[in-house]
Amino acid sequence: MKRRDFLKNSTLASGVFFVPSFVKAMGNDLLTTTGFKRLVIVQLTGGNDGLNTIVPYRNDIYYKSRPSLGIDRSSLLKIDDELGFNGNLKELKELYDSGDLCVINNVGYPNPDRSHFRSTDIWQTASASNKVLNTGWIGRYLDVHGKSPHDAIEIGNSLSLAMKGKLKNGTATENARLLYRISNDPYFTKVLSHYNNQHLSEHNMGYLYQTMIDAKESASYIFEKVKVYESRMEYNKTQFGKQLKTIAQFINSGLDTQVYYAKLSGFDTHANQMGRQDRLLSNYSKAVSAFVKDLKMNNTFNDTLILTFSEFGRRVEQNAARGTDHGAANNVFVIGNQLKKPGLFNDAPNLSNLDENGDLKYEMDFRSIYANILEDWLDVSTDKILIQPAPTVKII
């Protein structure tokens, strides 16, 4: 940063008046890395077709059900005798080969819901299929263990339900610099200094004021940390690439944020699936690979775990529009260097034992994965965070 810019910002800061006591004092700058683990959640929105992501190329049923959508084995990146990665996942295959990727097959939950919104809500709130929860699992983590608004950051322009708790929310941001400039405006500081408890009691008004307070806190914190860091890693020039680049920037700047969230959308391939999914998978693969490399270069990969999921998989049989309709169970990727069982965690999907809709049956409850991450990675109890119990599993 140029000296002139630094001065400009300091001038702004010195123009700030009395800071009300309810705005917490800025944390000190000590970097606390001991025992501190990070989780990065990537949501593939729309329902990614898992069967064309990890392809069972020896299975006749697969090719019979997908006369024009079935992927030829020659273009696959083989894992073993049964399964191969979609050819657009070259970089992901490299992660697989180096032992940093765990592929979990047949992940889902009992009584699967095939609505985008319901199923996304179920994954984000970790509720039972027939229950509606208004808080997300990371939101509840913040309710119990969160100390600052920046403990969980979503890189995007709106906050997902996963990140909303009863009392605390994560922060959504796309651009740290802009956020900082605006939230440190002297006028807003003045406005905040006049607010009182009465403001907070009305639910929407209270939300506005609380968001302003959170914005000021997280903006300052993030900006101060990030301004001294410069990434040298090249990412693919897509929105998703930028999002992961921003997350890497935050991680490598030493933010003590525990959870990051990013979404890649477009997977709802009801028609002409092939080209679209190819592009999306390629985008995902390139961005994640650059992200992992970036973290490795800065020694922050050791403490980072990346979870990738989609709200459901898709139907085994293709439809009349060279696409697929909503399905159920799907694969999940976990990336890190402390995996208990890198590679294929469990068996390939059983295409001769489908449910009454012709969809894959689940074998592993996704809440088992969440529980494992909470207990063995983030080192907290699932108490008050996960409400729906699920069998124990050890991915990490």
């Binding site: 006028y187 006049h194 009182n196 929407n204 008004m205 506005l208 302003m212 914005a215």
Partner: protein, 453 residues
């Protein structure tokens, strides 16, 4: 009717009201004012832009195929932005105010995204035409629109290979809500809509060879149901009345639903589905004007622009500004994030969007600076590196002087801010200098309270 209630009614049922007009209505009763609003919207004037490249193409090529059509679409993509602008302009200057409000409401229920300008235009006008009419004809008309058929793949739904997308969303998002239909219903309904398609110029056509004429078992019925019959069955269900009326309540009254009030509306909706009757009942009810509902809603980006425009009319100078602003605030009209539309309420607000909204009035209609009487150094930072460079806005302060110049500070506050202003904010407002009406109004619009409607 009292002034506060008049402002509230017009904020919710229209896009606000100028103080002069609001004051002329003081001597009228609630019934008279609501009737006036309804009468005003008995007609519905379509929003149209010049689509002659397309009109000419259809006229000269009656047997065009999609392949012939594609290059024309590519060549005139910008017309979609033209329509976006025309729709926004209409909402900023509406004559059929309630109807425009209803059109925006329905656009967030019957969510659809389309890139062919004539299809965009006709979809939007179909909503407008049916907005206050009969719910069944609204659903039926919308389902036959090429934009909707393309978006939810109805036109790829064929006998023997049904595509369930439209059938599912029809029930889940447009009429019944989750839990009130089975997977079998979805499959059977999909069969009923097979063969629904459109010609290149957008006219609806039923492709008989692709239509499944067999018996469908749907919601207790066993008959050779077509798409229209499926819609007829669905809209008459109590669950549909409940679902739609709850949406209406959340949008027009409060995002915290009062089940008794919704039930009242559902009683009127069921089974005929006369939208106007439901809206009329709501606008006449006492609970609509309850303090807990006044200023209780977070403005959508469109509401936010409209509320600024009402105070200080503005016009974006370039082509891209309006689109940029919409994107920034999270609502680019005609471009919903997904098929459920915009969630609204608190979801408009997070750290990013809130800070942007708080800053916008001063950037758009001020000179980018919030008045700086309280600080010696002032807010003399060059704004160009934030939005200044991208925003070219022409504002009409003389209009503001004309419409609001004569109001005292309390009257101005009441006109600009919805809801009851509480002690802390009142104390803050007391300390502001009142001699400059323009400065005062910019500060009012920079308060978080201005985000509520």
């Amino acid at each position: 009717m009292e002034l506060q209630h008049i402002y509230h009614l017009f904020r919710r049922a229209a896009f606000g009201i100028l103080p002069k007009e609001a004051n002329t209505l003081l001597n009228y009763s609630r019934e008279e004012i609501v009737e006036m609003l309804l009468k005003e919207s008995e007609t519905s004037t379509p929003v149209t832009v010049d689509l002659s490249p397309f009109d000419d193409f259809f006229a000269e090529n009656p047997n065009a195929t999609n392949k012939d059509f594609s290059p024309i679409i590519m060549e005139h993509k910008e017309l979609r932005l033209t329509f976006n602008k025309a729709w926004v302009d209409r909402m900023l200057n509406p004559s059929e105010r309630l109807n425009e409000r209803m059109t925006l409401f329905w656009a967030n229920t019957f969510v659809c995204q389309e890139n062919v300008p004539p299809f965009v235009q006709r979809f939007n006008n179909t909503l407008r035409e049916n907005a206050l009419d009969n719910f069944e004809s609204l659903v039926a008309s919308v389902s036959r629109e090429p934009a909707m058929m393309k978006f939810l793949n109805t036109n790829q739904n064929r006998k023997g290979h049904p595509n369930e997308n439209f059938a599912r969303e029809l029930m889940e998002l447009f009429t019944l809500g989750t839990g009130h239909y089975t997977e079998t219903d979805v499959k059977e309904a999909a069969r009923a809509f097979t063969g629904w398609s459109h010609r290149v110029d957008g006219t609806f056509v039923l492709r008989k060879r692709q239509h499944d004429y067999g018996i469908k078992s749907f919601q207790g019925w066993n008959a050779n149901l077509g798409g229209e019959e499926v819609i007829s069955i669905i809209v008459r269900k109590k669950e549909c009345a409940q679902f739609i009326c709850e949406k209406i309540y959340r949008y027009f009254v409060n995002d915290r639903v009062n089940p008794a009030h919704v039930a009242e509306l559902a009683e009127i909706f069921h089974p005929r589905g006369n939208i106007k009757d439901v809206i009329e009942h709501m606008l006449l009810s006492d609970w609509f004007y309850d303090t807990v509902n006044i200023g209780s809603k977070i403005k959508s980006p469109m509401d936010f622009f409209a509320s600024i425009h009402l105070v200080v009319p503005f016009q974006f100078q370039g082509d891209k500004e309006l689109v940029f602003m919409q994107r920034l605030l999270g609502q680019l009209l005609l471009n919903p994030p997904n098929v459920a539309g915009w969630e609204g309420g608190k979801s408009w607000i997070d750290t990013n969007t809130l800070m942007t909204r708080l800053k916008l009035p001063s950037l758009m209609i001020g000179n980018g600076l919030v008045p700086s009487w309280w600080s010696r150094r002032g807010f003399g930072i060059n704004q160009e590196s934030t939005y200044g460079a991208k925003l070219k806005v022409k504002e009409d302060w003389t209009m503001f002087d004309h419409n609001y110049g004569g109001l005292n500070p309390d009257e101005l506050t009441q006109a600009v801010l919805a809801g009851v202003v509480n002690n802390g904010t009142a104390a803050f407002l007391d300390k502001l200098p009142k001699d400059n009406q323009r400065d005062l109004v910019i500060q009012l619009m920079s308060l978080p309270e201005f985000q509520l409607t």
